[in-house]
Protein backbone atom coordinates (compact mmCIF):
# COMPACT_ATOMS: atom_id res chain seq x y z
CA UNK A 1 0.00 0.00 0.00
CA UNK A 2 1.30 3.42 -0.95
CA UNK A 3 2.63 5.74 1.74
CA UNK A 4 1.69 9.41 1.32
CA UNK A 5 3.55 12.33 2.80
CA UNK A 6 1.40 15.31 3.80
CA UNK A 7 2.83 17.29 0.86
CA UNK A 8 1.98 14.47 -1.54
CA UNK A 9 -1.54 14.13 -0.17
CA UNK A 10 -2.07 17.85 -0.71
CA UNK A 11 -1.85 17.32 -4.48
CA UNK A 12 -5.02 15.22 -4.40
CA UNK A 13 -7.30 18.06 -3.41
CA UNK A 14 -9.99 17.28 -5.99
CA UNK A 15 -9.45 20.46 -7.99
CA UNK A 16 -7.98 18.76 -11.05
CA UNK A 17 -8.10 15.06 -10.38
CA UNK A 18 -8.75 12.52 -7.66
CA UNK A 19 -9.98 13.55 -4.21
CA UNK A 20 -8.13 11.96 -1.31
CA UNK A 21 -8.44 12.57 2.39
CA UNK A 22 -6.66 11.05 5.37
CA UNK A 23 -8.29 9.80 8.54
CA UNK A 24 -6.63 7.97 11.43
CA UNK A 25 -3.51 7.19 9.43
CA UNK A 26 -5.32 5.86 6.35
CA UNK A 27 -5.75 7.62 3.01
CA UNK A 28 -9.19 7.31 1.42
CA UNK A 29 -10.29 7.99 -2.14
CA UNK A 30 -13.55 9.97 -1.87
CA UNK A 31 -13.64 11.00 -5.55
CA UNK A 32 -16.91 9.14 -6.06
CA UNK A 33 -18.71 10.98 -3.27
CA UNK A 34 -21.38 13.52 -4.14
CA UNK A 35 -20.50 15.25 -0.89
CA UNK A 36 -16.89 15.85 -1.94
CA UNK A 37 -17.49 17.58 -5.25
CA UNK A 38 -14.62 19.87 -6.27
CA UNK A 39 -12.72 18.68 -3.21
CA UNK A 40 -14.90 20.57 -0.74
CA UNK A 41 -17.18 19.00 1.86
CA UNK A 42 -20.04 20.96 3.45
CA UNK A 43 -18.37 24.25 2.44
CA UNK A 44 -16.03 23.68 5.37
CA UNK A 45 -13.49 20.94 4.73
CA UNK A 46 -10.88 20.73 1.97
CA UNK A 47 -9.55 17.50 0.52
CA UNK A 48 -5.85 16.65 0.31
CA UNK A 49 -5.46 16.85 4.06
CA UNK A 50 -5.49 14.82 7.24
CA UNK A 51 -9.03 15.40 8.50
CA UNK A 52 -8.77 13.31 11.66
CA UNK A 53 -9.43 16.22 14.05
CA UNK A 54 -12.27 17.52 11.83
CA UNK A 55 -13.97 14.16 11.62
CA UNK A 56 -13.87 13.77 15.37
CA UNK A 57 -16.13 16.84 15.56
CA UNK A 58 -18.32 16.05 12.55
CA UNK A 59 -22.03 15.23 12.82
CA UNK A 60 -21.25 11.71 11.63
CA UNK A 61 -19.06 8.88 12.80
CA UNK A 62 -15.95 7.42 11.14
CA UNK A 63 -18.09 4.49 9.96
CA UNK A 64 -19.02 6.57 6.91
CA UNK A 65 -15.41 6.23 5.78
CA UNK A 66 -15.99 2.50 5.28
CA UNK A 67 -17.86 3.33 2.05
CA UNK A 68 -14.65 4.55 0.43
CA UNK A 69 -11.58 2.61 -0.69
CA UNK A 70 -8.39 2.89 1.35
CA UNK A 71 -5.64 3.61 -1.15
CA UNK A 72 -2.73 4.23 1.18
CA UNK A 73 -1.40 5.25 4.53
CA UNK A 74 -0.30 8.65 5.76
CA UNK A 75 3.40 9.01 6.64
Amino acid sequence: MKTFSKAELKQYNGCNGPTYIAYAGKVYDVSSSFLWKKGIHQCSHEAGQDLTPDLDQAPHGPDLMDKFPVIGVLE
Binding site: F34, L35, Q42, C43, S44, A58, P59, H60
Partner: protein, 183 residues
Amino acid sequence: MARVAREVVEKAGVNVDQLVQLLVTNAAAELTTYYYYTILRANLIGLDGETVKEIAEIARLEDRNHFEALVPRIYELGGRLPDNMNEFHDCSACPPARLPQDPRDTKAILQVLVDAERCAVRGYTHICNLTAGKDHRTYDLSQAILNEEVEHESWFSEFLGEGPSGHFMRRGDTSPFVSKFLK
Protein backbone atom coordinates in the same frame (compact mmCIF):
# COMPACT_ATOMS: atom_id res chain seq x y z
CA MET B 1 -28.91 42.79 3.02
CA ALA B 2 -29.38 43.37 6.74
CA ARG B 3 -26.04 45.11 7.27
CA VAL B 4 -25.98 45.19 11.05
CA ALA B 5 -27.37 41.65 11.27
CA ARG B 6 -24.40 40.46 9.20
CA GLU B 7 -21.91 42.56 11.13
CA VAL B 8 -22.92 41.15 14.50
CA VAL B 9 -22.59 37.60 13.22
CA GLU B 10 -19.13 38.37 11.80
CA LYS B 11 -18.15 40.02 15.05
CA ALA B 12 -19.20 36.89 16.92
CA GLY B 13 -16.56 34.98 14.98
CA VAL B 14 -18.62 33.26 12.31
CA ASN B 15 -17.23 33.04 8.77
CA VAL B 16 -20.35 34.56 7.20
CA ASP B 17 -19.41 33.80 3.59
CA GLN B 18 -18.97 30.14 4.49
CA LEU B 19 -22.24 30.17 6.43
CA VAL B 20 -24.12 31.74 3.52
CA GLN B 21 -22.71 29.10 1.19
CA LEU B 22 -23.90 26.40 3.57
CA LEU B 23 -27.36 27.95 3.67
CA VAL B 24 -27.45 28.07 -0.14
CA THR B 25 -26.36 24.43 -0.51
CA ASN B 26 -28.93 23.33 2.05
CA ALA B 27 -31.64 25.41 0.39
CA ALA B 28 -30.70 23.61 -2.84
CA ALA B 29 -30.97 20.29 -1.04
CA GLU B 30 -34.46 21.19 0.18
CA LEU B 31 -35.81 22.31 -3.17
CA THR B 32 -34.28 19.41 -5.10
CA THR B 33 -35.55 17.00 -2.46
CA TYR B 34 -39.02 18.49 -2.85
CA TYR B 35 -38.74 17.76 -6.57
CA TYR B 36 -37.39 14.21 -6.18
CA TYR B 37 -39.87 13.40 -3.41
CA THR B 38 -42.66 14.38 -5.79
CA ILE B 39 -41.53 11.55 -8.06
CA LEU B 40 -41.06 9.11 -5.17
CA ARG B 41 -44.51 9.95 -3.84
CA ALA B 42 -46.10 9.41 -7.25
CA ASN B 43 -44.55 5.94 -7.36
CA LEU B 44 -45.61 4.91 -3.85
CA ILE B 45 -48.49 2.73 -4.97
CA GLY B 46 -50.00 -0.59 -4.04
CA LEU B 47 -50.56 -1.89 -0.52
CA ASP B 48 -47.01 -1.14 0.66
CA GLY B 49 -46.55 2.11 -1.19
CA GLU B 50 -49.85 3.70 -0.19
CA THR B 51 -48.98 3.06 3.46
CA VAL B 52 -45.88 5.24 3.17
CA LYS B 53 -47.36 7.85 0.84
CA GLU B 54 -48.81 10.09 3.54
CA ILE B 55 -45.56 10.60 5.45
CA ALA B 56 -43.62 10.99 2.21
CA GLU B 57 -46.06 13.74 1.27
CA ILE B 58 -45.67 15.51 4.62
CA ALA B 59 -41.88 15.33 4.34
CA ARG B 60 -42.10 16.64 0.77
CA LEU B 61 -44.19 19.66 1.76
CA GLU B 62 -42.07 20.40 4.80
CA ASP B 63 -38.87 20.29 2.74
CA ARG B 64 -40.37 22.94 0.46
CA ASN B 65 -41.17 24.98 3.58
CA HIS B 66 -37.54 24.62 4.67
CA PHE B 67 -36.41 26.05 1.34
CA GLU B 68 -38.75 29.02 1.74
CA ALA B 69 -37.65 29.61 5.34
CA LEU B 70 -33.94 29.53 4.40
CA VAL B 71 -34.11 32.01 1.52
CA PRO B 72 -34.73 35.19 3.56
CA ARG B 73 -31.79 34.39 5.84
CA ILE B 74 -29.50 33.94 2.83
CA TYR B 75 -30.35 37.43 1.58
CA GLU B 76 -30.25 39.00 5.04
CA LEU B 77 -26.66 37.82 5.37
CA GLY B 78 -25.72 39.28 1.99
CA GLY B 79 -25.95 36.08 -0.03
CA ARG B 80 -28.11 35.21 -3.00
CA LEU B 81 -29.45 32.22 -4.87
CA PRO B 82 -27.61 31.26 -8.08
CA ASP B 83 -29.21 32.73 -11.21
CA ASN B 84 -28.91 29.39 -12.95
CA MET B 85 -31.22 26.60 -11.79
CA ASN B 86 -28.77 23.92 -13.00
CA GLU B 87 -26.03 25.44 -10.87
CA PHE B 88 -28.42 25.50 -7.91
CA HIS B 89 -29.32 21.83 -8.35
CA ASP B 90 -25.68 20.78 -8.61
CA CYS B 91 -24.54 22.64 -5.50
CA SER B 92 -26.98 20.72 -3.28
CA ALA B 93 -25.67 19.69 0.13
CA CYS B 94 -27.19 16.23 -0.33
CA PRO B 95 -27.22 13.73 -3.21
CA PRO B 96 -30.34 13.59 -5.40
CA ALA B 97 -33.09 11.41 -3.88
CA ARG B 98 -33.61 9.57 -7.16
CA LEU B 99 -36.24 6.95 -7.82
CA PRO B 100 -34.68 3.48 -7.39
CA GLN B 101 -34.17 1.24 -10.39
CA ASP B 102 -37.28 -0.75 -9.48
CA PRO B 103 -39.94 1.88 -8.76
CA ARG B 104 -42.24 -0.79 -7.29
CA ASP B 105 -39.71 -1.62 -4.57
CA THR B 106 -41.17 0.31 -1.62
CA LYS B 107 -38.32 -0.69 0.67
CA ALA B 108 -35.80 0.74 -1.79
CA ILE B 109 -37.82 3.98 -1.95
CA LEU B 110 -37.85 4.11 1.85
CA GLN B 111 -34.07 3.71 1.85
CA VAL B 112 -33.75 6.68 -0.52
CA LEU B 113 -36.05 8.70 1.76
CA VAL B 114 -34.22 7.84 4.97
CA ASP B 115 -30.79 8.49 3.39
CA ALA B 116 -31.97 11.94 2.28
CA GLU B 117 -33.27 12.76 5.75
CA ARG B 118 -30.04 11.55 7.39
CA CYS B 119 -28.03 13.81 5.13
CA ALA B 120 -30.28 16.73 6.15
CA VAL B 121 -29.98 15.90 9.86
CA ARG B 122 -26.19 15.99 9.58
CA GLY B 123 -26.27 19.20 7.54
CA TYR B 124 -28.43 21.16 10.00
CA THR B 125 -26.53 19.78 12.98
CA HIS B 126 -23.40 21.17 11.32
CA ILE B 127 -25.02 24.61 10.89
CA CYS B 128 -26.29 24.56 14.48
CA ASN B 129 -22.79 23.71 15.70
CA LEU B 130 -21.30 26.60 13.69
CA THR B 131 -23.85 29.16 14.86
CA ALA B 132 -24.65 28.14 18.45
CA GLY B 133 -24.23 31.13 20.73
CA LYS B 134 -23.01 33.28 17.82
CA ASP B 135 -25.75 33.73 15.23
CA HIS B 136 -28.99 33.39 17.12
CA ARG B 137 -31.32 33.79 14.15
CA THR B 138 -29.62 31.25 11.90
CA TYR B 139 -29.32 28.88 14.85
CA ASP B 140 -33.03 29.22 15.65
CA LEU B 141 -33.94 28.58 12.01
CA SER B 142 -31.57 25.63 11.61
CA GLN B 143 -32.69 24.10 14.86
CA ALA B 144 -36.35 24.40 13.80
CA ILE B 145 -35.57 22.66 10.50
CA LEU B 146 -33.47 20.06 12.30
CA ASN B 147 -36.43 19.19 14.53
CA GLU B 148 -38.53 18.40 11.48
CA GLU B 149 -35.77 16.50 9.68
CA VAL B 150 -35.24 14.31 12.74
CA GLU B 151 -38.95 13.48 12.75
CA HIS B 152 -38.85 12.62 9.04
CA GLU B 153 -35.87 10.34 9.59
CA SER B 154 -37.67 8.62 12.47
CA TRP B 155 -40.80 8.00 10.40
CA PHE B 156 -38.95 6.39 7.50
CA SER B 157 -36.62 4.48 9.80
CA GLU B 158 -39.64 3.06 11.61
CA PHE B 159 -41.11 1.82 8.33
CA LEU B 160 -37.81 0.13 7.56
CA GLY B 161 -38.16 -1.72 10.86
CA GLU B 162 -35.09 -0.14 12.42
CA GLY B 163 -37.02 0.66 15.60
CA PRO B 164 -40.05 2.60 16.84
CA SER B 165 -40.08 6.31 16.03
CA GLY B 166 -41.91 7.17 19.24
CA HIS B 167 -43.77 9.85 17.30
CA PHE B 168 -47.49 10.34 16.93
CA MET B 169 -49.36 11.51 13.86
CA ARG B 170 -48.94 15.19 13.09
CA ARG B 171 -51.89 17.21 14.27
CA GLY B 172 -52.83 20.41 12.47
CA ASP B 173 -50.73 22.04 9.79
CA THR B 174 -47.39 20.92 8.46
CA SER B 175 -44.07 22.31 9.76
CA PRO B 176 -44.87 22.69 13.47
CA PHE B 177 -41.35 23.99 14.13
CA VAL B 178 -40.61 26.00 10.97
CA SER B 179 -44.01 27.62 10.46
CA LYS B 180 -43.07 30.61 12.63
CA PHE B 181 -40.54 31.59 9.96
CA LEU B 182 -43.13 31.44 7.22
CA LYS B 183 -45.75 33.76 8.69
